[in-house]
């Protein structure tokens, strides 16, 4: 059976490397260079994209907008991973910031996996 493809865009190589080890049930593609992420997404054709917010070159918001503007990628769900949102904000906006679901770093593998599953099968 074909594995679900997940593209992880984050400028932290350590994080993406460990995430890949944890989520072995998915086919994970790491991308640490945000400027190359769009092309990677076009070639990889992921089922879901995990996207960091603060990155050098282009931030997650602009990258998400670009992905949503692409006809081939516009339906790919995006989940933000951010370290700059406080737990209080996370409590106030449990799911969405700027129209996208998000997870606040640090995040446990269980929560991350649950979130991925939730957004792979939209209700």
């Amino acid at each position: 059976m074909k594995k679900t493809r997940i593209l992880v865009v984050d400028d932290e190589p350590g994080f993406t490397r460990l995430l890949k080890l944890v989520l072995q049930r998915y086919e994970i593609r790491e991308e640490n260079d945000a400027l190359r992420a769009f092309e990677t997404a076009q070639s990889f054709r992921p089922d879901l994209i995990l996207l960091d917010v603060v990155m050098p070159g282009i931030d997650g918001g602009n990258l998400a907008a670009r992905i949503k503007g692409d006809p081939l990628l516009k339906n790919v769900p995006i989940v933000f991973l951010t370290a700059v949102v406080s737990p209080k904000e996370a409590g106030q906006h449990p799911k969405h910031i700027g129209g996208f679901p998000f997870l606040a770093k640090p995040v446990s593998p269980e929560v991350l996996e649950r979130c991925i599953e939730e957004h792979l099968t939209p209700s």
Binding site: D11, E12, P13, G14, F15, R17, L18, L19, L21, V22, Q24, N32, V54, M55, P56, L81, A83, V84, V85, S86, A104, K105, P106, V107, S108, P109, E110
Partner: protein, 575 residues
Amino acid sequence: MGCSLVAATIGALTIVGWVTGMESLASLRTHYIPMAPSTALCFALLGIAINTRTRRGSLRRVSLACTIIVGLVAAGKLVEFASGYRLGLDELLVANPAMFGIVRKGRMAPITALNFLLSTCALACMMRASWRRFAGFPATLAGAISIVVLLGYMYGTPLLYGGAIIPVALSTAGAFLFLSVSLITAAGPDCWPLLPLAGSSARSLLLRWFLPIVIAGTIVNSYLESRFINTPGFNPALVSALSTLGFAFIISAIISQLSRVVGDRIDQAEAGRRGAQYALESLNAVLEQRIAARTIELRAKNDETQRLFADLTQSHENLKHAQLQLIQAEKMQSVGNFAAGIAHEVKNPLAILQMGLGCLTCRPELDAESLHVVYEEMKDAVARANTVISGLLDYSSSKELNIQPCQLPGVVEQSLHLMRHEFVNRHITIIRDFAPDFPPCQIDAQKIEQVFVNLFTNACHAMPKGGTLTVAATVRTLTAGDVHWEAGNRSGSRFREDERVAVVTVCDTGAGIPTDQLSKVFDPFFTTKPTGQGTGLGLTVAAKIIELHGGRLELSNAPERGAVATVTFHLRQSP
């Protein structure tokens, strides 16, 4: 001039009368005393003096000489009368004259001498321009005396022309009257007594009409009364009535004429005044209209100004309010940015640690190689978090300085020594350019060492493929251009023109700093380095340390390539 000639002629005729024996020429009437030859001579001399007075050259001197001679003769005669001593002035001309009553003929009367003295005084006053205004007084007095003498003759009263002393001859009095008129005229209309009579004013006009007629009328009336009232054959009442009637007629005629002249003038003046008043009233009305219009205009402008002022005040208040809000927002944004920076730099290592823990707990099947990766990543994450927290502690604890006099090049050299392995690994060549005889600087050597290590570290990161690091330490004097940018600096440690400072520059051959990011390089957590290589606190801490030393840290791009960090220290006592 004519009057003076008449007087001189009278004198000359008298001399002729004395010389030819025709006494009537000297006395006019046989029972009147004749004019003395000396008097006649004086009149002739005064006539010459008056007529040559305004000439130039020798004639003017003749005038002066004649005046002096007459004055001396008159004074001599008065001395004779006063002292009784005979100077023999008259005797020179008429040695043994006939008697006239109790006095001798051919002798100058004392009143005559006095009049000559007054006349010569008047002439003397006219010799100088500044004295001329006084000439009218002695001349008028002489004329008045001559009139009194003439009245004496007219009324037949000897007391008035001599009494018991030598009487004044009738011709002498007449000649004096002409002489006085001549002198008063010569003094000019701008001198008394002509001054009030001259001009076109109502006063002078009235004086010109009334004064002569009243004097003449009074004299004539009195003369008629004295001459005819007691004369047999004349009805005194009739004479009195006729003289009064005649006088009244003349006065009435003059007043009538005067009324016409003065009345015309008053009418003209009144018409002029009315015209001027009408013009003034018209002008006033126009002016009032203009003032009213201008007042309305000004009131409108004033209202507009007040409204604008109110708007301006409101705008000012709004601006102040907005400014306060902006300051508050800026503060909140600074705090927010700082918190976000800390969150980003700490939470990412925490996320790695969390994920590592997840690996260890959820994936027990991981092979040794993967486990090694997990351990290494977790170890790096802990180190990164520690670096960030240490940087923050450095930032917060950098306020305490241990200031000592130090050799700045030595401190820089120590920093280079600490970084030597990094330079070797990255193939970076070091060029030192330290000025000799560097003066000691008041610095905290350890903190400044940290600053230069930070700067060298940044330089190393900017030259990943090697390059050249040039470090220079100099002492120089600041120019106006160096301190220009500090115009708005309120701190007590600002640099001033002509100040001696120590300057250290660190110049790399890297890619430099993007221009749009130059203003952010000192912001906490701002970094252009790849993730994990920098916390974004190095330059913030370095700038803070330099600021605590009262110095200045600037970052710019070199003209050719690379970035230049310039650290400037005061050479005076550090704060």
